[in-house]
């Protein structure tokens, strides 16, 4: 523990760690020092001058260095002028006066001065009602200004910094919180200050504007209404919003969110989600949220929602009752016996997946997870468990990122890993091309696509990098699927697991394997015992298929063809998809906003989400639908209470042992304080009152015998002459079902591009922006070529979920299309 320092603030004895700033020390002891520019997560700058206080220090004799004593204690010498509490670190014996007449006069003057050019258009401001400037003006302001109204500067009201964030130049008080957030925390220096004095303004330095995936956070920490989001623009007043805790479903990080809902006339009088705000969980997402999580929530309210069960009659889907639909499905599932196949997606909750797995086990069928990534059984064995927190990683911890571009795949992990590296953790990045994390890495290893396993196995040889890893007291490996299919990523996971086991980096907090999955609850599916199948076309043939939450037909023409050969297809989903179009039975499920449940994050943390909006139509929760079908098959599964399903799950899945809904809803005190009346301090991030989640245990932690299979070397495809090696990569904003309905993100999603090295493209005679035709294994598609010098020559990067169905690395023919 660091050195503790005792000081006096407003007559109250306070003990805080050395190095704390006075403003933070005051906050820790429950005393409010008003601040605008200071933020506990950012370095201090002292720009706004709001935190002026009187600071006295014990006087020392100049010749002896001893304290000068007075009335039995050290004599306190106050500075003649006020000092900023946010830039002064605490010292032993300091005396702080935050509410003396002098200090209050200073604060009053600062507010008056800050308001000289503020438009005071609070009635139309999106921040009005949760605005630090409003609150602090009420608390510390003079009430009346001596400045002349006509001397106010009238600046531009709506300046888009990008298409997501708008700047109101008049409202800005130049605190630089946003600029500092981008520089220090996000590491994307894409906004900055321009001009000086009263005309100083924030400008975007990138093209497209404000090109960062963390841009939404700047509007949370903006102490005024200068930065607002395009999504929530004039959406509602903050006090009219209801708040309900939820979990982001966009990636495996499992960011804690709060859904703000309101009844809306535009939506026909329904209660709808108006905005998604981060909810504090210092062990998961701190107080941040990426733009995908913040803006891509519209899919659940789309017009293509399924509202009623449907049954195919005379080649057409016709409305049916729940009874009829589930009875038909049950009848077919019973007939299928061993030929019953469940295909579930990681969008489902733990409870849904558990019921599905139980049903498939009962019919002795197969349960597949719809994912492009394998190796999940290993994360249950040697994954991370209790006590793991990126915030605790620093000196002595090695973090290995292999085959993953975290910035695109799991932005908040990127942020947390970056910060761990800055605290002194050894960051080793293994990737075939440059990623944003390279800048912060101690060691960067480039390997050729296809050599992922070898690059991990090289750790067993002696080298500077392997030494750094082996000798580290803690080590985590995050593995992804950059350029890999199911088989490749499974082999990579095995190699990583073996390395962790050999170096004894398992079964302890902050040690283990983390999968950078494609969906929010892939880890949960693995825990339930789901498997992935590299070749689903074979798995479908002649089978009775129960597809839940996935759209294989829309994703891949080959799978569409394979499903034509299936005996019977039952589809259960939230929205109409291409797959529901070919189904024999369609069952409408509730979106995650309409129900309760739990997700397991990539860090193997089980977290609860709650119901925020009413149910659409006749939709039912997934676990309930499965239970209804099961009942008709003569199998009793819990289908009414989600917490009861969880209790049964806990009985049968070892890693969940000892958990229950009450435990998942427990909260602990967190620092910094956010929300409430303290929103001037930490920003408008919501306080966590509905649960921080609990880690699952790993087999390694439980002391079980671990059997890690031998690494299966996948034969990587060898491109012939005139062929290129095409590899799938993940793009943050893709055309996936959960992103596409968010129109605001259209520009970020963009068109399908194939990235090539300029040299390789030149050889083919293709210019940037020109269209090429790609064909492989019966799949073909057209896309524009993008030059990217970080791509190895001879390789073409094809983003997933953008139109070309690429599931694994393949040799492709590429033709220039005029």
């Amino acid at each position: 523990m660091s050195k503790q320092i005792t000081l006096t603030i407003d007559g109250k004895q306070v003990t805080v760690p050395a190095g704390t700033y006075v403003a933070d020390a005051a906050k820790m002891s429950g005393i409010d020092v008003p601040v605008f520019c200071h933020h506990p997560k950012l370095e201090p700058v002292g720009m706004c001058r709001m935190c002026l206080v009187e600071i006295g220090r014990p006087m020392r004799d100049r010749s002896t260095g001893e304290y000068v004593m007075e009335n039995g204690g050290p004599k306190i010498q106050f500075m003649p002028k006020l000092e900023t509490a946010c830039t002064n670190k605490v010292e032993e014996g300091m005396v702080i006066l935050t509410e003396s007449a002098k200090a209050m006069n200073g604060q009053k003057g600062t507010v008056e001065f800050l308001l000289t050019s503020h438009p005071l258009d609070c009635p139309v401001c999106d921040k009005g009602g949760e605005c630090p400037l409003q609150n602090l003006t009420m608390a510390h302001g003079p009430g009346k200004s001596r400045f002349i109204y006509d001397e106010k500067l009238h600046l531009d009201k709506m300046v888009p910094l990008g298409e997501l964030i708008y700047l109101d130049r008049e409202r800005c008080i130049q605190c630089a919180r946003c600029v500092r957030f981008q520089d220090e925390i996000a590491g994307d220096s894409v906004i900055g200050f321009d001009d000086r004095g009263r005309s100083m303004q924030i400008v975007s330095l990138s093209d497209p504007g404000f090109d960062s995936v963390f841009s939404g956070n700047t509007s949370d920490i903006c102490p005024v209404g200068a930065l607002t989001t395009a999504d929530f623009r004039f959406g509602a007043r903050p006090w009219e919003l209801e708040a309900q805790a939820s979990i982001c479903t966009q990636c495996p990080v499992g960011c804690n969110t709060t859904l703000n809902t309101r009844r809306e006339a535009k939506a026909g009088g329904n209660i709808v989600v108006k905005r998604v705000m981060p909810r504090q969980n210092e062990e998961v997402n701190e107080i941040w949220l990426c733009d995908k999580g913040r803006f891509a929530y519209h899919y659940a309210e789309g017009k293509t929602r399924l509202t009623k069960p449907q049954v195919r009659k005379d080649k057409k889907l016709a409305r049916a009752s729940w009874d009829a639909a589930t009875k038909l499905a049950a009848e077919k599932f019973t007939q299928a016996k061993k030929n019953f196949v469940v295909l579930a997606s990681g969008r489902l909750s733990n409870e849904d997946l558990f019921n599905l797995k139980t049903l498939s086990d009962h019919s002795k069928g197969k349960a597949y997870l719809y994912s492009h990534m394998g190796g999940g059984e290993l994360t249950s064995l040697v994954g991370v468990g209790e006590g793991t927190n990126f915030a605790d990683m620093g000196k002595g911890t090695a973090i290995v990122i292999v085959a993953s571009n975290l910035y695109e795949e799991a932005p908040i992990w990127y942020l947390r890993v970056k910060q761990a590296a800055e605290r002194g953790a050894t960051l080793i990045v293994l990737n075939p091309r440059e990623t944003k994390l390279d800048k912060y890495a101690d060691h960067v290893v480039r390997y050729d696509y296809g050599d992922e396993v070898k690059s991990v196995q090289d750790f067993s040889k002696k080298s500077k990098i392997s030494d750094a890893f082996t000798k580290a007291s803690n080590a985590v490996i995050l593995y992804g699927s950059e350029g890999l299919g199911v088989g490749g990523s499974a082999s990579l996971a095995t190699a990583c697991a073996k390395l962790l086991k050999d170096t004894d980096h398992i079964g302890k907090p902050n040690n283990g394997l983390i999968g950078v999955w494609g969906r929010a609850n892939d880890q949960g599916a693995w825990e339930m015992g789901f498997q992935v199948e590299a070749d689903l076309t074979k798995a479908f043939k002649g089978k009775t298929v129960y597809i839940v939450g996935a759209d294989p037909v829309g994703d891949d023409p080959k799978l569409a063809k394979a499903l034509e050969g299936a005996e019977f297809v039952a589809v259960q989903d939230v929205m109409e998809t291409a797959t529901t179009g070919i189904a024999h039975v369609v069952l409408p499920a509730q979106a995650f906003t309409e129900r309760e449940g739990t997700f397991t994050s990539g860090e193997r943390r089980v977290q609860r989400f709650y119901q925020a909006v009413p149910v659409t139509g006749e939709a039912k929760p997934d676990f309930g639908i499965t239970s209804q079908i099961a009942r008709n098959m003569g199998v009793i599964l819990e289908g009414t209470s989600v917490s009861a399903v969880f209790d049964i799950l806990v009985e049968s899945v070892k890693s969940f042992e000892g958990l229950n809904y009450a435990k998942l809803a427990e909260v602990r005190a967190q620092w910094p304080i956010v929300g409430r009346s303290d929103l001037y301090y930490g920003g408008t991030t919501y306080e966590n009152t509905q649960g921080m989640g609990v880690h699952l245990s790993t087999a390694a932690m439980r002391g079980e015998k671990l059997s890690i299979p031998r690494v299966q070397k996948e034969a990587s495809p060898r491109p012939k002459e005139n062929e290129l090696l095409a590899v799938p990569v993940t793009k943050l904003y893709d055309r996936g079902t959960t992103v596409a309905p968010a129109e605001l993100l259209d520009q970020r999603v963009g068109e399908l591009n194939i990235s090539l090295h300029p040299d390789a493209a030149q050889e083919m005679g293709v210019e940037a922006g020109q269209t090429v035709n790609v064909s492989f294994n019966g799949v073909s598609g057209e896309a524009a070529v993008k030059f990217d010098a970080t791509v190895p020559v001879g390789v073409a990067l094809i983003p997933r979920s953008m139109g070309i169905a690429i599931r694994e690395p393949v040799a492709v023919r590429m033709k220039y299309v005029a």
Partner: protein, 172 residues
């Protein structure tokens, strides 16, 4: 008690009746005749316009926040110079008052930063069903003086930039 006493009382009573016959009647022949209300009467709300026809309401929802009966519902949207409803960036795209809930306290008037909502002199509020008790923006808005002043309308760009009018110091 004298025998004449009841007779005297009767005549006195009749006298009052006869006196009243010659006085001006207080009864109004409603609805043919309507009573002039007092200056501070609080009747049905009116959404006011500026002289140029633009709506004063900017959709800030402060009236809804001040309303003790939760009778007001406001939803706002963004103005453009092509399609302008009110000065500034924001206007009320939905404005509803449930007259069955309203208690005519006038807090909405107090809360309004642009003096857009005013309790008027209309007291004729009767409905056949509950739904028609909800007054929409169209029914609450003051009529425009001339046809070219209707909202939304196209205005010259970059003129109507302020939502809240410049308020003069009342003490000066």
């Amino acid at each position: 008690m004298s025998v004449f006493e009841p007779v005297i009382e009767l005549v006195r009573g009749l006298g009052t009746t006869i006196k009243m016959m010659f006085e001006k009647p207080v009864t109004f022949q409603y609805p043919e005749q309507k009573r002039e209300v007092r200056p501070r009467f609080r009747g049905r709300h009116v959404l006011k316009r500026y002289d140029n026809g633009l709506e004063k309401c900017i959709g800030c929802s402060l009236c809804a926040a001040a309303c003790p009966a939760d009778a007001i519902f406001v939803e706002s949207s963004e103005n453009t110079d092509e399609k302008r409803f009110s000065p500034g960036e924001r206007y009320a795209s939905t404005y509803e008052i449930n007259m069955l809930r309203c208690i005519y306290c006038g807090y909405c008037e107090d809360a309004c930063p642009t003096e857009a909502i005013v309790l008027g002199d209309n007291y004729e509020l009767s409905f056949y069903d509950r739904r028609s008790a909800i007054y929409t923006k169209e029914s609450l808005l003051e009529p425009v003086p001339t046809v070219d002043m209707t909202t939304p309308r196209k205005v010259e760009p970059n003129v109507y930039k302020r939502s809240v009018p410049e308020m003069k110091d009342p003490q000066k």
